[in-house]
Amino acid sequence: MSINTKKGIPEGIWSKCAACGEVIFQKEFFAGYKVCPGCSFHYPLSAHERLDTLLDMGTFRELDANMTSANPLAFVGNKPYEESLEASVANTGLKEAVVTGYGKLNARTVVIAVMDFRFIGGSMGSVVGEKITRAIEYAAKKHAPLIIVAASGGARMQEGMFSLAQMAKTSAALGKLADKHVPYISIMTHPTTGGVTASFPALADIIIAEPGALIGFTGARVIEDTLKEKLPDGFQTAEFMLEHGMVDMVVERKEIKGEIAALLDMFQMGAAGRPQATLSVGDIVPGADVARKMQKSMQTGVKKSAKNIKTQVKRLQGK
């Protein structure tokens, strides 16, 4: 699992942070949205965990939930594309690497798309591109603010040019959204890299990055191989991108929701007289409290990605 259970302490109560080694109280860990209270390391979230951190409880309505990938190139490679898809479906319970829909953020109706890195590295193929484009178009149609949370290694290689074309498709849709003066907030989480970065995540009115997130275009190893030199410390982190003027702010996970609400209020005030959001969320579905829900999903889903997380932690620590 993502955090190690300390010997002699019953599993599920105390754990050891894989980043700093500190023993942490799990309840506190989940209540803090999977951020280590000791070192503030931001553990990856699944798409649904992320939705829980951003939307008011029980308000999420999913769109385009039934869309699944085809195999347009009949791609085989080292294993058939269908096998990779099936494995990701089994591992995540998702149908693709993005979940889209709408809901309420501190009582404001927003359209939202959240990527899930566990699904073939959060790569963007036709389904991710189409669902995100539809979410953008839906936000434009309903004049509802748009939030997209990126977590992606890049384009979906197995779909070849169909995949690359999604960059142009999502970017074109955002051009139309901008013409309507509908706010778009992009959240770059660990990792936001490759061709995906060079499309919708970079084209927002406001870009928020999570602390320590890997953000960039070309992979660090490729750059190292080309330049034959060691890269500077902290290269391609959220903080590096802030320093170079590429993101507006680096915000702790727990603060992101409030930050978005404050921004939307200000933009809303300036937009008086423009068309208002015409999207309402129906009855609120009663749900468990966020921390408890996260603990459950942690127990069911995240164990499988433990190795992955350790690698990410090492990478973030520059090891």
């Binding site: 142009a168 074109a172 070309t218 330049l227 290269f235």
Partner: protein
């Protein structure tokens, strides 16, 4: 010389030799010469009609293949090169400026790799930095202001992989081009003349018409990159080139590319002028077609074209 060109080269040498002998002797060698010429033509047709994707990649990378500056020279006249992004610098990996295409003033922009070692180093082998993409966008906005159609030439293995490129927002520069090209209020024709490496190529590739020279490749990842990820072995690039469906004819069949511009037998490097003539005609044709629509319709069609690409299954769509 490429592997599969070796036998052709040998036959051509033998033919030259025969012709030379024939000229200097009383013996009539015309029958032998005719026969060899026939065999050569047959062999060429056979080889070039059965090229594998990897062989096409070799042709696309041939050092003598005409590049952006060569095509500008052969197709346009009175090209005036403009420089700089007005933000940071001037990137030699992208050239651009206004020129005449026959009677029509246009803005031509393209990645240029360079022929000599020195030129290649100056151009970073055709891999642009953010300032290159920003220069391209500046020239496109200039074209829009003065109502000039835009013609772009794609020829890059990818955006430049470097620390400076990341610091100056490579991803941001590319994304900006994608969005703004989708809304540019003048016709855009993009031509992939050789290599189309991923996002670095796409950043000049959002267009009303996407043309591709017959032996060019266009892909989400280079065959070597794909092979090293899939097989941990870049030497398996030929297999990856096959899987990625990256050739002009495959992309035409998949609806990604609008037109394949033929190259004379043997590839553009063997007949640059004839290739340029084909491209010249194709550009005029494309501009005629696009200009037939009013600007609003043109933009709607451009969006519809970008919007339509994708392959997925959806049993029960969400009603909106």
């Amino acid at each position: 010389m490429l592997d599969f060109e070796k036998h052709i080269e040998d036959m051509e040498k033998r033919l030259d030799e025969l012709k030379r002998l024939s000229a200097g002797s009383k013996e009539d060698l015309s029958l032998e010469i005719d026969e060899l010429e026939r065999q050569l033509a047959e062999h060429k047709t056979k080889v070039y009609s059965q090229l594998t994707p990897w062989q096409r990649v070799q042709i696309a990378r041939h050092p003598d293949r005409p590049q952006t500056r060569d095509f500008i020279e052969m197709i346009f006249h009175d090209f005036i090169e403009l420089h700089g992004d007005r933000l940071y610098g001037d990137d030699a990996a992208i050239v651009g400026g206004p020129a005449f295409l026959d009677g029509r003033a246009v803005m031509v922009i393209g990645q240029h790799k360079g022929h000599t070692t020195r030129e290649r180093v100056t151009c970073n082998f055709g891999s642009p930095h953010p300032e290159g993409y920003r220069k391209a966008l500046r020239l496109m906005k200039l074209a829009e202001k003065f109502n000039l159609p835009v013609i772009t030439f794609i020829d890059t293995q990818g955006a430049y992989p470097g620390v400076g490129a990341e610091e100056r927002g490579q991803a941001w520069a590319i994304a900006d081009n994608l969005m703004r090209m989708s809304q540019l209020r003048v016709p855009i024709v993009a031509v992939n003349i050789a290599e189309g490496g991923s996002g670095g190529a796409l950043a000049l590739g959002v267009a009303d018409r996407l043309l591709m020279l017959e032996n060019a490749w266009y892909s989400v990842i280079s065959p070597e990159g794909c092979a090293s990820i899939l097989y941990k072995d870049a030497a398996k690039a030929p297999e990856a080139a096959e899987s990625l469906k990256m050739t002009a004819d495959a992309l035409y069949k998949n609806g990604i590319v609008d037109e394949v511009v033929p190259e004379p037998v043997g590839g553009a490097h063997r007949a640059p002028n004839a290739t340029a003539e084909n491209l010249h005609a194709a550009l005029n044709r494309a501009l005629e077609e696009i200009s037939a629509s009013p600007v609003g319709t043109m933009l709607d069609l451009r969006y519809a074209k970008l919007r339509a690409i994708g392959a997925f299954e959806e049993p029960q769509p969400t009603p909106q």
